[in-house]
């Protein structure tokens, strides 16, 4: 067995306290890297694999702010929301833990190999199944219960009405964990699941501060809220610094949205020529204000 991988049974001293308290705790878990610190707060960030660029940005926003405040981010290392949240947490200098539906040696999905490596730097990879087990369908609902088991709050970023995230939420309710959801537009099918959760009584995640306050409501001392958690969601502020836009860039940027717009749509709504528009779009991309999410579809970056 790889030296970095440990098997921790329920009898073990290191077995996470939080996992012991769930209805059907795993008999043991395989861990590559570290285990989550029981003394620290943890938030699980989950959502759709096939998420929008907007969802990705929101996941990064919450994950980086929470991680900067010292919260551990738990997720499933999947495509979309999961991966985005975990890599943002690492970038913010926090620790993040990936719970897999396959063995800890198996990188699945392959496109997340980078995130897999990053996660190991500050956190760990956890799985209930043995090291080289392939990702089987049946493993995933079981994995979801561990994700929920390890966290204090479950945060849902983007989810369709009937989706895998639904199972995770059900687990959270069984285990008595708080669920927060990010609200979305009524017409977005990717936000339908989140809006439904809110209707059913989930917390509304307006910003990372809301989540932080909820995390510490049972504590005696005040939570440490860093400035980035209070930051209002303002897309003109890109990253943490202001970017200055000039001339045609302003025009083109004002036509863009957090939802993908095709080049034709942009052209139709402005008097600019194709080459002017493309030049402006390219400069905006270089400045990091805009990204091309699919061929000739552009979105604002947050």
């Amino acid at each position: 067995m790889d030296e970095n991988i440990r098997y921790i049974s329920r009898m073990d001293r290191d077995y996470p306290e939080k996992l012991k308290n769930i209805p059907d705790p795993p008999a043991g878990i395989y861990v590559k890297g570290r285990l989550p610190d029981d003394k620290k707060k943890s938030v699980a960030i989950v959502g759709a694999r096939n998420c929008s660029q907007y969802g990705k940005s929101i996941a990064e926003y919450f994950a980086s702010s929470l991680a900067a405040a010292g919260v551990q981010i738990i997720s499933g290392l999947a495509r979309g929301i999961d991966g985005a949240a975990q890599s943002a947490a690492v970038k913010a200098g926090g620790s993040t833990f990936g719970v897999l539906g396959c063995g800890v040696n198996v990188v699945y999905p392959k496109c997340n190999a980078d995130i897999y490596k990053e996660t190991l730097k500050t956190g760990g990879i956890i799985s209930e199944v043995s090291n080289d087990e392939p990702p089987l369908k049946a493993h995933f609902p079981l994995r979801n219960r561990i994700i929920v088991g390890l966290c204090d709050i479950l945060l849902v970023i983007e989810a369709r009405e009937r989706s895998g995230t639904g199972i995770t939420v059900r687990n959270a309710l069984e285990q008595g964990k708080d669920v927060f959801a990010v609200p979305g537009r009524l017409t977005d099918s990717l936000s339908a699941g989140c809006n439904r959760l809110i209707a059913q009584g989930a917390g509304i995640a307006l910003n990372p501060e809301t989540v932080l306050l909820a995390l510490s409501c049972n504590d005696d001392k005040e939570p440490v809220i860093c400035p980035s958690c209070k930051r209002k969601y303002d897309s003109r502020e890109i990253g943490y610094e202001k970017i200055t836009l000039v001339g045609t860039e302003k025009v083109v940027y004002s036509l863009l949205d957090l939802y993908p717009k095709s080049l034709d749509e942009i052209l139709m709504n402005s008097d600019l020529t194709l080459s002017e528009t493309l030049e402006a779009l390219f400069k905006l991309m270089m400045k990091g204000a805009v990204s091309e999410c699919a061929k000739n579809h552009y979105v604002r970056k947050i």
């Binding site: 099918s189 080459s275 400069k283």
Partner: protein, 511 residues
Amino acid sequence: MFSSVKTMSLLGLSASVVTVEADISDGLPVFDMVGYLANEVKEARERVRTALKNSGLSLPAKRITVNLSPGDIKKSGTSFDLAVALALLASLEIIPAEGLEKSMVFGELSLTGQVRPVPGILPMVIEAGRYGIKNCIVPFDNAAEGSVVEGVNVTGVKTLNEAIGYMKGELLCPQGKKENNVCETNANEKADVDFSDVNGQETVKRAMEIAAAGMHNILIIGPPGSGKTMLAKRLPTILPSLSIQECMEITKIYSISGKLEKGQGLIRKRPFVNPHHTVTAQALAGGGSIPRPGECSLAHKGVLFLDELPEFSGNTLEILRQPMEDREVHISRTQGNFTFPSDFLLCAAMNPCKCGYYPDLNKCTCSASDVKKYLSKISGPLLDRIDICAEASRIKYSELKRCDKAEDSETIRERVKKAAMIQNERYAGTGIRFNSELSASDLEKYCVLGKKEEELMKNAYDMLSLSARVYHRILKVARTIADLEGSDRINVSHLSEAIAFKSIDRRYWHG
């Protein structure tokens, strides 16, 4: 008595002279045909005999031997019928033998004595001219096609009797009218489609203009019903006009494939070939025991449009790699090696995902891996040969109903022509014709960047994690955009436009 008539046998795009020898001598009444004949040539015996009978002539009860020489090349096709009939008639001294020596005869006979059109008249008449023949007798329906050739008199005949009358000098058959073969700049026939038919889709139109100007292969991505096919059909209308040489090449290919319409002369329109996605590799490249040109040769000097690119089988698409590189298809068979020209502009269209609505996540029902899987059906090497990629979005009602007419093909073509001329001058004597043919070393010579542009490309290279290959393609396309503008130097706006049209890179398809 013995007599002989000359005709041609087709082999791929080339033709070789075949002499039909006929001898009628005493003996048991037999009609024998020899000379390494395919089945359809052997059957000429029955067609000729019946056609002669129905034309009021009968064969004597003698020993008839017909030989097609040289005896070592396989003769196939039905173009020998008329030559066999005339050779027999000369042996019977019904027609004079002298006239026959200076002529070549092509045509299929029906049982009633009608002369039917045959494929391959143009290459055969060209070869006849080269052989020194001044006179050709061809089926009436092929007369226009044959008379394209300079220096050869082509006579079209409708029936066997007409041919006999002509040989006897009794009947003057209408000669195929000589077409004006002067190389005109506007040799293109007026197309029945035009870019002004399409409202909106300015992005794709611009991408197509660039593709046409630099002969870049292009891929259009868009949801179903956004007009990808409609746009692609109009691509040939903005390509530069054909030279007479090019018209000949196209007509030759269509002639041997039997795809020329009745009475059609030179093809003056760039072909648009649109094979269904179930097409086999052989049908695309050319095949058969005696190979015939495939779809990619039929698209020679025109556009090969592959709709629903991911639906084509992998093998079929791989076949395209060699013709796209060499602009020729080489096929080897027991009969020999065949080469068909296939210098086409590849235009491919595809949906962004299986359901067709990605990146509209409200409509798209595909999972992230579905989208990836769909795209990965196109092999990397093929994607490497596509310079431009544009996105056709769903068209809005307001655009659909716009009153002002969109730009017409003629205006766009003028710009394309100008850009083609600039390229012609720049690459004179180098063997390069279009920007798309530039190699990496040529790029350093012809695509010199200024300081500002250099910096932009460096940023783009890092930010967009471009590969070296994509980087080169961006330069080529930027060169074409600069040529369209008549600018010597490649500047920032040319580069940013080229980057926007850069081909998709599978790694970055999702996010």
